[in-house]
């Protein structure tokens, strides 16, 4: 292999392929989408095994968060692609006639997709579906922190997909840096704030547009609810905290905000749910993913090391270092200046912050950077409205967690520190397309007042034209209206 890991050759080949125009045809796009469908269908058991060994994900969880999500996206893309690709026509003011206008979606060119380790399959293949639907050639860079998934994708993709147009390049930071030296027509990045800044700075050198899917501390507001609803709500919180890759998810619940008086009920209910879902023996937890690696395991352990924080543990807190497993852990009112309340947790620790009045949660959330997702369990319509208008986040979900991810018609993406740009459904197609404005005129009916030499008649004509005052125009042309001298 060359010292640049074959990057230059790959990028050149992709550019040639793009120039040949092959990826623009709808048939090529559909054939690649169908190939993805075949790929996941024929290899799903391998995927389940890999995800189980690499992250300890249960197959049901893997299906829900990875395989099923990809399948759903491909199905949608296949059924909508003709409609997405068709030019959008629209009306023009009479003044422009005879003319027509349309918006034409065209592929951006050669794009780079950088994936993340927590959903090593879907966070690579889901954006890929958008890139292919839009007709681009693609380099995929799966995360080196999930090495088995990465190498499996690198082996598998060329078997199913057009390897002249879609390439997987594996590697760590060194390879990423090399990739970022090249000129791309779009970079789609999922990962941390820190690396997001590096990606955008590199993109600036080539004026490359970027989509940054980052994370942040996603809060869950928990208002007073009737008993029956508390049960459902805690299930949903538990699922949003521990159910998706053991809290290692960008839209996972990071911390909760509740009124003091219901904190005890909530904690009791959460404990019960944890027991049913996962059991209570750290050495024998079921249905829970593990922590990705030693580094993150230690990072999470360090969060709890602060004695002021450790004192707040009301449930869990045990570790299984050999298997990189951390028990679902609940903390009540850890100090707000502790690291756990200022860094994105990205693991199975759940701080619960108590407030005198649930309305204070708005101020609390606004004092931190804008999260990717905001969850609120409440039946109070006014409070809902208040949350919607007074806070800012990538998305807001009322009375549930994570599920907004599965809604194709909702854009998925952040704002502020949680990133920018969006995808899913049609938004994925748009993320990798340029909407070209096309205006077509004929040679008939030349409006002389457009051109110099200028005079008052022409000025008056244009004034009327800009106001779309057709009656005035006719009067002016008939000489029945005097041009104003200005």
């Amino acid at each position: 292999m060359e010292d640049d890991h074959g990057v230059r050759r790959s990028v050149e080949e992709l550019r040639q392929t793009f120039k040949s125009g092959k990826t623009r045809g709808v048939d090529w796009r559909k054939s690649q989408l169908r190939a993805i469908l075949r790929l996941i269908e024929e290899n799903k058991d391998n995927f389940y095994k890999l995800l189980q060994s690499e992250l300890g994900k249960h197959p049901v969880e893997s299906y829900r968060d990875e395989i099923g999500i990809v399948k759903k996206s491909v199905d949608l893309a296949l059924s909508c692609i003709d409609q997405w690709m068709s030019p959008k026509k629209g009306w023009l003011p009479l003044l422009f006639l005879p003319a027509s206008r349309k918006l034409l979606s065209e592929p951006l060119g050669v794009v780079l997709i950088i994936g993340s380790w927590n959903f090593p399959i879907s966070l690579i293949l889901d954006p890929l579906i958008g890139a292919i639907s839009a007709g681009n050639t693609v380099v995929l860079k799966p995360s080196e922190l999930a090495p088995n998934c990465s190498s499996f994708l690198a082996k598998l993709l060329p078997v199913y997909l057009d390897s002249k147009a879609i390439k997987v390049i594996e590697g760590g930071r060194e390879v990423s840096n090399q990739l970022l030296e090249y000129k791309w027509d779009k970079i789609f990045f999922t990962g941390s704030v820190k690396v997001g800044k590096v990606v955008m700075a590199a993109a600036a050198k080539h004026l490359t547009p970027v989509t940054l899917e980052l994370g942040g501390k996603c809060p869950a507001i928990f208002d007073s609810l009737p008993n029956a609803d508390i049960k459902v709500a805690t299930k949903r919180v538990a699922s949003g905290k521990w159910g998706a890759c053991c809290g290692q998810a960008c839209i996972g619940v990071d911390y909760m905000l509740v009124e003091q008086k219901i904190a005890t009920t909530l904690i009791e209910e959460l404990k019960k749910t944890i027991k049913t879902f996962y059991g209570d023996d750290v050495r024998n937890l079921k249905n829970m993913s593990k922590i990705i690696n030693k580094f993150h395991f230690d990072r999470l352990r360090n969060l709890l090391e602060d004695p002021a924080v450790a004192n707040c543990i009301v449930y869990g807190g045990s570790f299984d270092e050999k298997n990189l497993i951390i028990e679902p852990t609940i903390l009540l009112d850890p100090p707000l200046n502790a690291e756990i309340m200022n860094e994105e947790i990205f693991g199975p620790l759940l701080p619960i912050i108590t407030l005198d009045d649930i309305k204070e949660s708005i101020e609390f959330i606004n004092s931190k950077s804008k999260p990717l997702a905001l969850y609120a369990f409440t039946k109070n319509e006014n409070f809902k409205k208040q949350i919607l208008t007074e806070t800012s986040s990538g998305s807001v979900t009322f009375n549930d967690t994570m599920i907004q991810f599965a809604c194709d018609d909702l854009p998925f993406g952040g704002v502020g520190q949680s990133g920018f740009g969006r995808y899913h459904g049609k938004y994925s197609f748009d993320a990798f397309s340029h909407e070209k404005a096309v205006l077509e005129r004929s040679f008939y009916f030349e409006l002389e007042p457009r051109h110099p030499p200028w005079n008052n008649f022409k000025l008056e004509f244009l004034r009327l034209a800009y106001n779309y005052d057709y009656v005035g125009l006719v009067l002016l042309l008939l000489g029945l209206k005097k041009p104003l001298s200005s």
Partner: protein
Amino acid sequence: MASEEQVKNSAFDTEAANCLVKELRGTVVAGKTKSYEWRVKQLKSLLKMVEERDKQICDALFSDLSKPEMEAFIHEIALIKNSCKLSLKKLKEWMKPEKVKTTLSTFPSSAEIVPEPLGVVLVISAWNYPFCIWECCCSEALRNCSSHVFIAENLLEEYLDNSAIKVVEGGVPETSALLEQKWDKIFYTGNGRIGRVVMAAAAKHLTPVVLELGGKSPVVVDSNIDLTVTARRIIGGKWACNNGQACVAPDYIITTKQFAPKLIDSIKHELVKFYGEDPLNSPDISRVVNSNHFARLSKLLDDDRVSGKIVHGGQTDKSSLKIAPTIVLDAEEDSLIMHEEIFGPLLLVVTVEKIEDGIDFINSRSKPLAAYIFTNNKQLKQDFVSNISSGAIVVNDISLHLMVDTLPFGGVGESGTGAYHGKFSFDAFTHKKAVLHRSFLGDAPARYPPYTAGKLRLLKALLDGSIFGIIRALFGFS
């Protein structure tokens, strides 16, 4: 581009910029700018300003660019007025949450997309001097920041809410001080070199950017066309729009060897009709903005590989900063003028053997902001539209797409990212928040552990959206 103002008093330093951002952020947090009423009030004031002070704006434009009143009216005043009016008419509709469909997998639920202002935004306008700091929402007002902002400062202060909208004038030090701050959006109009600096600065705070840059916008002219109309429209787009100093102005023409003499003759003929025999003294043409740009343009012409190729014009008057409409035929490929954006009254004509070769010529360069073609040949038109990647394509006219509110205005590749105009301007400064409403009913146990094979089947059916599959899974068949 941004050097002449360096020695200005740099009272506006990082600290001042910091204070200014703090004040604006305070206004945002107070929530004042979110209301429909506030936005409407500002838009109305802006409209009033343009209507009441159009004379003053035109005078300023005349003194800065000796822009003819007519041109000032077409390209500045009317555009701002129109977009204000459009915004006033449509704002309520734009601000409304958009209901979207939900899928079976999230049933029962309802979903909407709620537009919200991004926060404190920085608008850096062309010609590097003036910066308007615009606070979210009434993005339409933005149009204000084209060239006439030289005088905009005191006018804007008089008409608009100063706690939310500020103008900072200055050059490089002021820009740098502003770029160090954290913004929620930066909207920059200018060149690619500074565009890169702006985006790199934005990366430090993860600020999204809109970059409205330029590039060499080509015009392909076929031979089967209405020659007079074509010549007039080219002149209109090139010299009657700020004398070529517009990002969408034609930079070069591509035509066949045989047709070039006819086209050039026709342009010459129409130029005389427009500006007379002595264009340097015509009141109907703008001048070059300043001596730096005058020197830059003169240098392009003085190149030995170019000066022999001038087929029309070429006269310059340093004292009045005027350059006559100039046509250069087939300049050497390696000369500067063939590669730099001209941004002035010089027009290149590049000849090709077959007109179809024009497409390859354009594709061998970076993607332009606009690409124009004059032709009656359907096939050629279609090939051009589908094979040329540019911000916009206009068939049989020049620059007219700017006037169409329903078309997005923006570049691709080297000509920038992001788009504005009409609803697109509102969107450029808006975050579209995804909102999903769920009730406590309809809780599918399959979502939760402990996981079983039956749950996997049910999930598959749910994600597939197949009702039949769901029923089968629920009854335990598979």
